[in-house]
Symmetry: C2
Subunit: 612 residues, 2 copies
């Protein structure tokens, strides 16, 4: 076919792979108004099985995109974890029941389990409502990236050229398409084609742990079948993850000899069956019984590789995310969460660059933040997998893993496994200098949830709901007690200097970051939290930039029905003289600054935003 007949398309961002990382990216970018194309080689979306639970932090992230409500309706909630260990009388016995999540600040102190297809559907339906669907079945066949430094530095250029092939037989000979993209995102899984095309190495190693996984509606007398369970028996280890409806997933540890093909050295699913996995599980569950179900909903075998890609990007034009850059054990339920949070981290940065708001250098912070996280994840996974797969400590095996060891690890790592404790270190978008002015808000961690009471109508509001993932930086002005004249004076002076009259032409310091045709609120949301009470607050005295609408001001007071305490300033450790907390578009705290450090605020934004 002559080249002239081949379709050529320009897109801002081409996403290859519509798994959890890909659809999170696609939805976020479409929502941000970016021209994005998402392709996937599978003809239809995943229908059952696969990835597990959604962690508390991921729930917060989904909520920020307006997607959590449906997830809560469709999914199962895991609130409790139970631990079983060898019983003196043989078999296993209940040792403990503890919270499934150890993360006191989590907005949602539980995990949600739901099959991967239903989770992806949240994003697919959201994108569809905005007019974008995944193109499938389409596979990439070649890729080229310009090596011209000037082109690579120009955010309006299209340095990535990808040839795509449509796998749908109905398409016939017009199956080839060339896409020119400003940016490319490879979210194409553990065997990533994108990663391989750029010879990015996976660093780390394969483990000897092999696990069998079965989904089914169980018929059992085991008492904790609706709790997450860790079962350590003298006959093997097992994990239970209750799922949507009456379904349950079993993770069963298998011996290498059972599941490895001696010729290839790889897991051979053909040698196994879900019946076989259940048979192994039964040995751990004694004296409790599991009947063979009428059908298995899904099943698979895993051999765990604990690996991280050596780099996450080529020239900040091609990125890999999700399983394409880290693989690890499924037992802590991290996989899908890590993947979605990769692209949640990247999407707003891409949007800012494509729009011309941020310098292209901001994209370096993606690898900086997410590769470190991936390495921490592998290191956690190694420790946890060792404890999990180890023999339990018993009278006769004093070197085994004790319940105390295990539960200590389970709870110590709670911040990590919940996703709540994820901490991004100093970079262009994380500035830790003034940490002491909000001593309990950890710069680089996500802004914690907090009920605030709205000044104008006393309505209690969750702060997280005031900070949707809309690509805007949220500037939280903790104004101190604005009923005190001197403090009010400080607030006015600060606000005039930073915001001015909120126009692009105004004399506020932030005016120079305002994109063309917009005002301050195009790029920034400004929320005010005063230490005044419901009774004493005077909205009309605040500078207009701090009350652009009556709904933007909050007090540090109980709600009228007295169901939430007045605690914001104390809980966050906020300096009552006035502090600004800058929350990044992904919900992470980028900076804290006292009112007299206004030039530091300017420097923060100057380090990655373009001046107009």
């Amino acid at each position: 076919m002559p080249t002239s007949l081949i379709k050529e398309t320009d897109v801002d961002v081409l996403v290859i792979g519509a798994g959890p990382a890909g659809v999170m990216a696609g939805n976020a970018l479409v929502k941000a108004g970016i021209n994005v194309r998402i392709i996937d080689q599978r003809p239809v979306k995943v229908m059952a099985g696969q990835a597990d639970g959604i962690q508390p932090r991921t729930l917060e992230v989904l909520q920020s995109y307006g997607l959590a409500e449906r997830l809560f309706k469709e999914g199962n909630q895991m609130h409790m974890a139970a631990f079983y260990n060898p019983s003196p009388s043989g078999g296993i016995e209940l040792t403990d029941r503890v919270p499934d999540v150890t993360a006191p600040s989590a907005r949602y102190p539980f995990e949600v389990t739901l099959h991967q297809g239903a989770i992806e559907a949240l994003f697919l339906d959201s994108m569809k409502s905005m007019g974008v669907e995944v193109s499938r079945p389409i596979t990439p066949v070649s890729i080229q990236v310009s090596d011209d430094a000037a082109v690579l530095q120009d955010p309006t250029a299209y340095p990535v050229r990808v040839v795509l092939k449509n796998l749908d037989p109905a398409v016939g000979q017009h199956d080839t398409e060339i896409v020119h993209a400003k940016f490319l995102l490879g979210t194409d899984g553990a065997h990533s084609w994108v990663r391989k095309m750029f010879n990015i190495a996976m660093e780390g190693e394969q483990t000897d742990y092999i696990w069998g996984v079965v989904d089914m509606i169980p018929d059992t007398d085991f008492p904790d079948i609706r709790n997450r369970c860790a079962i350590h028996s003298n006959n093997g280890s097992c994990m239970i993850i209750p799922r949507e409806g009456d379904k349950v997933r079993l993770y069963v540890q298998l011996g290498a000899q059972d599941a490895i093909d001696s010729v290839t050295g790889r897991v051979n699913k053909n040698k196994f069956s879900p019946h076989h996995i259940l048979e192994v599980a039964r040995k751990s569950f004694h004296p409790y019984t599991f009947e063979t179900p009428k059908e298995f909903d899904w099943w698979t075998l895993y051999q765990i590789g604990q690996r991280v890609a050596s780099k996450f990007s080529i020239h900040e034009r091609v990125f890999i995310a999700g399983d394409a850059c880290h693989t690890h054990s499924p037992k802590a339920g991290q996989g899908m969460n890590a993947s979605m949070n990769d692209t949640h981290n990247l999407a707003w940065k891409l949007a800012h660059v494509v729009r011309g708001w941020a310098d292209i250098s901001i994209l370096k912070t993606y690898e900086h933040e997410r590769r470190k996280y991936a390495q921490d994840l592998i290191s956690f996974d190694k420790q946890f997998a060792r404890l999990f797969s180890g023999k339990p400590r018993t009278e006769v095996n004093q070197d085994g893993v004790s319940h105390e060891d295990f539960i200590r690890a389970f709870q110590t790592f709670g911040g990590f496994t919940s996703g709540i404790g994820v901490h991004y270190t100093e970079s262009a978008v994380v500035q830790t200098k003034h940490q002491s002015h909000a001593s309990n808000l950890i710069i680089g961690q996500r802004m914690p949830p907090q009920i605030l009471v709205r000044a104008a109508d006393g309505r209690p509001y969750e702060l997280h709901d005031l900070m949707p993932s809309d690509t805007r930086f949220k500037i939280l002005v903790f104004a101190g007690n604005t009923t005190v004249p001197q403090q009010l004076q400080r607030v006015r002076a600060f606000s005039d200097q930073l915001f001015g009259d909120c126009t692009a032409q105004g004399d506020g310091l932030l005016a120079r970051y305002v994109p063309e045709g917009g005002d301050l609120f195009t790029a920034f949301e400004i929320l005010t939290i005063t230490a005044a009470t419901k009774m004493t607050v005077r909205l009309d005295q605040l500078p207009k930039s701090l009350r652009s609408h009556w709904s933007k001001v909050f007090v540090d007071d109980t709600d009228p029905a007295n169901r939430h305490p007045a605690e914001v300033y104390a809980k966050f450790g906020i300096n009552p003289e006035g502090v600004v907390v800058i929350v990044r578009p992904d919900g992470y705290i980028g900076m804290v600054a006292p009112f007299d450090s206004i030039t530091d605020i300017d420097s923060y934004f100057a380090s990655f935003m373009k001046v107009h």
Copy 2:
């Protein structure tokens, strides 16, 4: 036109009038699988203005039909009430800000304001999703009810004959239809045609209070424009109800001379305009200012009649509900709430009778319960209107209404205005004999909300969400501490006697009320709350009737994340030896019984249910 060409239809229930009372009834009956026809003479539904706020109890009721979530999204929440009184310096000043709702047990401690059309749309869309739409524009022209006692006693007979006329000109000469109904419900408003056809008198009187109402987006410096406000000035009284979006409603007291037509003695809307109403309001608001808005969203004039129909039913075959049987002032925001709760009360009783589950005599409890409520409402309205319309107490007017008088009334009546305190007295469906066994659960009031922790998975659940309006009686078995062998023995004995094996053929006492082809769960939901803890609970030891599914058993313990206290038994004053609480399908407590009063439970159901 010869009679033979006139269309004739049979329906279980004909509802005349698709206002709030009518659509509540329609939706509830359709949901219950009843063959219902709803007609309305308006060609389209209401689009703006009209009724006000949804009270806390009505929010609970809407939630029980799965309709609250959308309401919360679309409506405005009123959490705070502000009071303004004459200032010594002239004009008005802020006296107090208090909770809008005084009802500690309310699940939702606020009111929601939204225009009537959007509220009706919740029900209309819900019905549409079940395949039923309102027939309009249709008006009834004649009605006959059989006076044959045998027919009236036969729930399968169609003693009501209504001739309908289609007002759509496109229908032409085939505009007449005859409907034969088992039951008829007149929810056709204050000028009810149904009421007039049966010469049902309205008892009570017209008042002299005349109010002007305007909806608009205000431009004002008044600080409490987003709170419910009661303004008592020396120049008149005013009320503010903030609404959805940025809209606000003003209620303004008018002089009779301004608004009454001297010839007819009736309110004459033609003599008035929204500008005129705003002009009167401005006098009360001084020194605060109200600019004239670009447009008024809606406006009207009210003259308050405080009247209750002398009866609510003809032979328990024709019923009137809502404004058709009670009219009162709009200021306490009761109108739409009273109307919807009328038919919420009636719908499940009608469903039980139409299905043949309950004796037709149960329908007498509708008038018993709702007419008393309407009378209480009028008596409250009289007191409240007097306080509201009275001149404020000032230096020169020592006989005026003081702020203390007013706020005392506002809070004293909180149980009433919130709807939470509504109390149905002894009847076939309310049996108060064993009140002392659950001393803090008031028999005849609605079952309060309560977070319970599910035994199988530690998930905290709101009890209200376990008791949807699905026409089933909810049998809450407070089983005491089931880890104590003697108590477990008592529970088993009780359960065997009352529920047996839960089949229609079983030897449980309730078996005889099980409808043909069903089991116990067709008519009853059985939920168990044990005083065991998350750690000690043993589901497998409970009799199967008390754990028909793993999701039906709850413990009196904190949730795993420790966000809700262990308090159920203490808070409800439950006798730890075991108590059954029977909650009616509309959420009201019908009966409490200790385990040794099993025959009283049987007598309760025998007093209105049919034995099969």
